[in-house]
Amino acid sequence: MRRVVPIGPYHPLQEEPEFFKLIVEGEKVVDLEINIGYNHRGHEYISPTLTWDQVPFLVERICGICSDSHPYAYVLAVEDCAHIEPPPRAKYIRTIIGELERIHSHYLWLGLAGHFIGYNTVWMWVWRYREPLLDLFELIMGNRNHYAINKIGGARRDIKPEDYPKIEKYLDMLEKKNAMFTKAILDDPVIRARLEGVGILKKEDAIAYAVTGPTARGSGYAIDVRKDDPYDAYDKVDWDIVVGKDGDVLAKAVVRLLECDESIKIVRQCLKNMPDGPIETRVDGIPPGEGIGHHEAPRGEVFHYVRSDGSNMPVRHKVRAPSFMNIASNVVAVKGYSIADATLVLAAVDPCYCCTERTMVAYEDGKEKYTGKDLLQLSWKKTERLRERYRK
């Protein structure tokens, strides 16, 4: 007997609205129908109505978790179009933030994966160690998410030399914890029973569906933009691509965990070799032409294409998030497994369907208490307090 089990659009499995129709026989999934568009806000339509410098703020709000990756790829695309060479220090700063974001995103996924298999202890513990990283972001860029670090021709904020030791200290702590989590996941028989051999995406399917990122690498398809087409500081540091081979959920989880180790390595080397100098170059308009930028986001390759006609706004801006390719591959990965596995498989590609804006007025008892400006100041004060606490 065939039945339809709907997952979504509002379902605890996903934080975002997304609609999967699982067509099941008993507990076995025989087909999957994916219905997206619940998150469609028309970025590609809005983008040509903004100036070149405003677009990073828009694309940052495509997704809150890869809020560094989208502006990164956009900036690379514009730089490719206008042949702009950012100063070396800016390149290193961008690389560091990109890698820290990868750690934050992978930890977020790991915690949620634990939550999905009902293992809330993993969720709580992993997020506990992710929290100091968000503090570091606030310390460097003034916001926990939506960092706004990328800028055409450079970086918006500098990492101060006195902040290096704090980053190093965090990395030392994380390295130990990461080893602990890797061991815990590989050793726990019940976790293995749930993850091993589930949701296998074969290499041929991975190539045909053009998946990217850990989803592809978990299936033994070794592609990584950072290695293939190195940009910024990635060709100046020493690191390895992590490739799994089975293509199951366990392989994807292990690839993500080991990638965190590589990210730690990259950030350490970047901090050590960081050159001095300015963090941005002067940009005088974007000449007519077209440009492509791609960045290896935590979930895979983010691809941006821009076309300029020489005015102050892009003519066309195409955005391709990694999940656009990865989610489509679920159709093959989920078939033949049970409903319980299906939710895990759907989550294993680290789907991300998603964006936002700032500051209004808060009321208390009908009276205006804080204006936008007050709130901004309160927020600055907190960041300052945090900085002081860390400097001690």
């Binding site: 469609h40 997704c63 978790i65």
Partner: protein, 138 residues
């Protein structure tokens, strides 16, 4: 009787998390307030999986054409009395997305909103403060 009802609601607000077209940030920060650093279970706040069990809806993101009917349905399904808390600037006003063809406006155009928490994303402290304020207003 009325007082008892309020007391129960104040001491045990169960929230359902409803994301329309949002970037993930507010949603992640909402999950974040459950984790050890913030731990809102201290105040009895629990995230529930079905709108039928909820007392408060934490809504994020702008509403687009496709999510609008779903949002209305979830709101209908929630047993009354229920609070609606708009988390994040998008939920308060579409701002940057206003010019888009697919966005049909903020939440308060479609369902009654009790508290607005601005910020992109609001810090976890701000979200907790917003929920507390919503409870105080009862």
């Amino acid at each position: 009787m009325g007082n008892l009802k309020l007391l129960g609601l104040k001491k045990s607000p169960w929230v359902f998390h409803l994301a329309a077209a949002a970037c993930n940030n507010c949603d992640i920060e909402i999950l974040d307030i459950l984790t050890p650093r913030w731990d809102v279970e201290r105040f009895g706040i629990v995230l529930v999986g079905s709108p039928r069990h909820a007392d408060a809806l934490l809504v994020t993101g702008v509403i687009n054409r496709k999510t609008l009917p779903r949002v209305l349905r979830v709101y209908e399904q929630t047993p009354k009395p229920c609070l609606v808390i708009a988390v994040g600037s998008c939920a308060c006003h579409p701002h940057i997305f206003e010019s888009s063809y697919n966005v049909v406006g903020p939440y308060d155009k479609h369902i009654p909103v009790d508290v607005y928490i601005p910020g992109c994303p609001p810090k976890p402290e701000a979200i907790i403060m917003g929920v507390v304020k919503a409870l105080k207003r009862l």
